[in-house]
Symmetry: C2
Subunit: 136 residues, 2 copies
């Protein structure tokens, strides 16, 4: 990331995302810890080009709000959708999916984990290079 | 707003905010309509310099995520807090407060209305010019 892009960042990078659940370089900055008062958890996730989550589900659903860059969101068995600045994705509870950056450009999104009492994330297998390339 | 600032906007401006509930020029773009699946409602709010909400409460609480500019958040009976890019505010249910831009610079924030089944917003009296000036 060059300094001009860095100036556009809204949040600090936060913690390196686990290799167990992500492919490539990604960072997670928690904005609101899992909260009983608000019944949600909110984080910012920054993906370098080519980085993506594993396939996974959210017991309580998740909303993605894309703030910079470009990338993909794919539900199991469906074509990938392109993401860009301003995209909003509504991910229903228990729907298997992945999201991440494009191969050429990074992606940052805010992730709102709703109905946190129903579970935040269940991590599944990696998105293979073949699956990722087919998202183009 | 000049074109350089405009290029930094993440979302379209949306609808003009009601004069009944806001002072000055503000725009509300709904990102996620009130949803039973996610039990929340999410909007982006853009305030011109000097613009602010009325005093109000949220039955289910609200999270503010500031994406650009500078402004204030004030809880009834407490000093105002300054807001800037990257600020996150957790507003508990039924707490009387207001938020808005600084006098010199606009403000944009994402507003996550949590526990939407408990009510999204109850609007109260205007923030007077005297109250607003004392926030500086």
């Amino acid at each position: 990331m060059n300094s001009a892009e860095n100036d556009l960042s809204i949040f600090e990078r936060g913690e390196r995302a686990s290799e167990d659940y992500f492919t490539g370089n990604a960072w997670v900055k928690f904005l609101v810890p899992k909260s009983e008062i608000f019944n949600c958890q909110i984080a910012n996730v920054e993906f370098e080009a080519g980085a993506r989550t594993n396939w996974h589900t959210h017991g309580g659903g998740q909303i993605l709000i894309i703030t910079t860059g470009s990338g993909y969101y794919q539900e199991k068995g469906k074509p990938a959708q392109k993401l860009e600045k301003g995209s909003v994705v509504q991910i229903p509870p228990d729907l298997e999916h992945w999201h991440g950056a494009s191969a050429e450009k990074g992606l940052s999104h805010i992730a709102v984990n709703t109905n946190a009492h129903l579970g935040v994330a269940t991590w599944l297998e990696k998105v293979t290079d073949e699956e990722y390339r087919s998202a183009k």
